[in-house]
């Protein structure tokens, strides 16, 4: 499947944006942009609630590029909201997580899209998203054999290990002390919770 590479999935969604104006008299694409501006980022981002999203973005596509003659200008009949996500695992689980873990953000953004059925029903939501899905032709990742959990835990271990090496170097610990402390580090690493996405 061209959408996947090892454990990673490259989801590309192109949702038609509703024509006309919102109740506030603002075009829907502009309303989306404003919502996105107001959305929290980093560790407070709604995506941080999803333990499988590596990188994701929203881009409003209002018009198409034009390179100059002899090329012809193409005009879009509808504007589109591009959503791409790089996550672990299968699509169905991911869509369900979007629906249940970030329903507020999903609703606020996609409610401006044509025929969006809302997040109340698992089936209709998934069907809508799949209708808007475009198949990825080629997907590349630098570490697709690893999940987000693997990555975050590894980054955490990286920090702790670096600090451990520096501390024991300065302290000039005895071998016994070093061995004991190392054992402690290993159990800490094993039992420490995965850092929250967006914090590293």
């Amino acid at each position: 499947m061209a959408n996947t590479a090892d454990r990673a999935y490259g989801l590309t969604i192109l949702s038609p944006i509703a024509p006309g104006l919102t109740a506030d008299g603002v075009p829907h694409d502009l309303a989306i942009r404003r919502e996105l501006l107001a959305l929290d980022t980093l560790a407070e981002s709604p995506f941080a609630e999803m333990p499988t999203t590596h990188l994701a973005r929203w881009v409003v596509i209002g018009s198409l590029p034009y390179e100059g003659i002899p090329a012809i200008v193409d005009s879009l009949a509808t504007k589109y909201l591009l959503f791409t996500s790089n996550f672990d695992g299968a699509l169905d689980e991911y869509l369900e997580m979007m629906r249940t873990r970030m329903p507020d953000a999903v609703t606020r953004i996609w409610s401006h899209c044509l025929a969006f059925p809302g997040v109340d029903n698992r089936g209709t939501f998934a069907n809508y998203m799949k209708k808007c899905q475009v198949e990825t032709s080629f997907f590349f990742g630098a570490y697709t054999k690893y999940t987000l959990d693997d990555v975050l835990r590894a980054l955490d271990a990286q920090r702790r290990m670096a600090a451990f090496i520096a501390d024991h170097q300065d302290r000039q610990s005895s071998p016994a002390e070093l061995q004991r402390a190392f054992g402690e580090l290993v159990s800490t690493l094993a039992s420490a919770p995965t850092p929250r996405p967006g914090t590293i």
């Binding site: 990673a8 490259g10 590309t12 192109l14 949702s15 038609p16 989306i32 996105l36 501006l37 980022t41 980093l42 995506f47 999203t53 590596h54 990188l55 994701a56 973005r57 929203w58 881009v59 198409l64 390179e67 012809i72 193409d74 879009l76 009949a77 509808t78 589109y80 791409t84 790089n86 044509l114 025929a115 808007c132 475009v134 198949e135 990825t136 032709s137 997907f139 590349f140 990742g141 630098a142 570490y143 693997d150 990555v151 975050l152 835990r153 590894a154 980054l155 271990a157 990286q158 290990m161 670096a162 071998p175 070093l178 061995q179 190392f182 290993v186 690493l189 996405p197 967006g198 590293i200």
Partner: protein
């Protein structure tokens, strides 16, 4: 006399924004109206257009790329061998987290219900979405220097595509079809691809070391530990979004990688 140079400078600056999109400039100015940057990651979204017949050429290229990724030792001079080399180069360049190409044929723009007007487009579209580390220009520059053949094979099907070398027309081409990101999320904004790969490698080595060092005497352990630290010495990169103690003036500016 004093005002003249600064007015000119301003005009000049606006006119030659060239090197960066508005989005980058505004991101830098902290006004995040668009957000191409998130920590160490940069979001590039570009749509190029293709004559409908040429799309098949591109599909063939992707097919060959996928073939070349099979664990078969292709001869270096062959087509698949060359494609594999491009891939190896890309991986070694090591500043892409994830990237994708999506062909959207002109009739394939999603249609969700009958009320939606039908698109009447003349071209097929190629979406390129990439998450990479660092400067936009450095990225494109590196690509063009390192894998010009690879770039050319994918984009030669696109309308009015210049070659990837010399670099300036190519930069202009990409800039012209780039879209600014409205919202960008990274689960590890303070970690570059190198940081992540270093950390994952560290994890593997650590696991191995824990196994092999179990049951050693303290002295044996100390020595094994020393060897272990040499093995992982370049897997300890400092992560985190760069921040500086901000002077009042500096508070307005956004760090390059923040």
């Amino acid at each position: 006399m004093l005002s003249r140079p600064s007015r000119l400078r301003e005009l000049h600056w606006r006119r030659t924004l060239g090197r960066r999109t508005i989005g980058d400039v505004l991101s830098f100015m902290g006004r995040a109206l668009v957000a191409n940057v998130r920590g160490k990651a940069y979001a590039l979204t570009a749509f190029t257009r293709m004559h409908p017949a040429k799309t098949y050429g591109l599909r063939l290229v992707f097919f060959l790329i996928r073939l070349s990724m099979l664990p078969i030792p292709f001869p270096k001079w062959g087509v698949l061998g060359r494609i594999k080399q491009v891939q190896l180069d890309l991986t070694q360049l090591s500043f892409i987290h994830f990237a994708r190409w999506v062909i959207i044929k002109r009739g394939q723009f999603p249609r969700v219900d009958a009320s939606q007007k039908e698109e009447a487009l003349n071209y097929d579209y190629l979406l390129f979405e990439s998450n990479f580390n660092g400067d936009w220009e450095k990225y494109i520059d590196a690509f063009s220097q390192v894998v010009p053949g690879g770039m050319d094979n994918i984009w030669r099907w696109s309308v009015k595509y210049p070659q990837s070398r010399p670099i300036t027309p190519f930069l202009n081409y990409i800039r012209n079809c780039q879209y600014d990101t409205d919202y960008y999320y990274s689960a590890y904004p303070g970690a570059s691809t190198n940081d992540v790969r270093g950390a994952l490698l560290l994890g593997e080595k650590l696991e191995a070391f824990v196994r092999t060092s179990a049951g050693l005497t303290p002295d044996e352990f100390a020595r094994a530990y020393q060897i272990f630290t040499v093995e992982i010495q370049n897997c300890l990169s400092t992560t985190g979004r760069q921040s500086y103690v901000a002077s009042p003036a500096a508070q307005r500016a956004v760090a390059m990688h923040a």
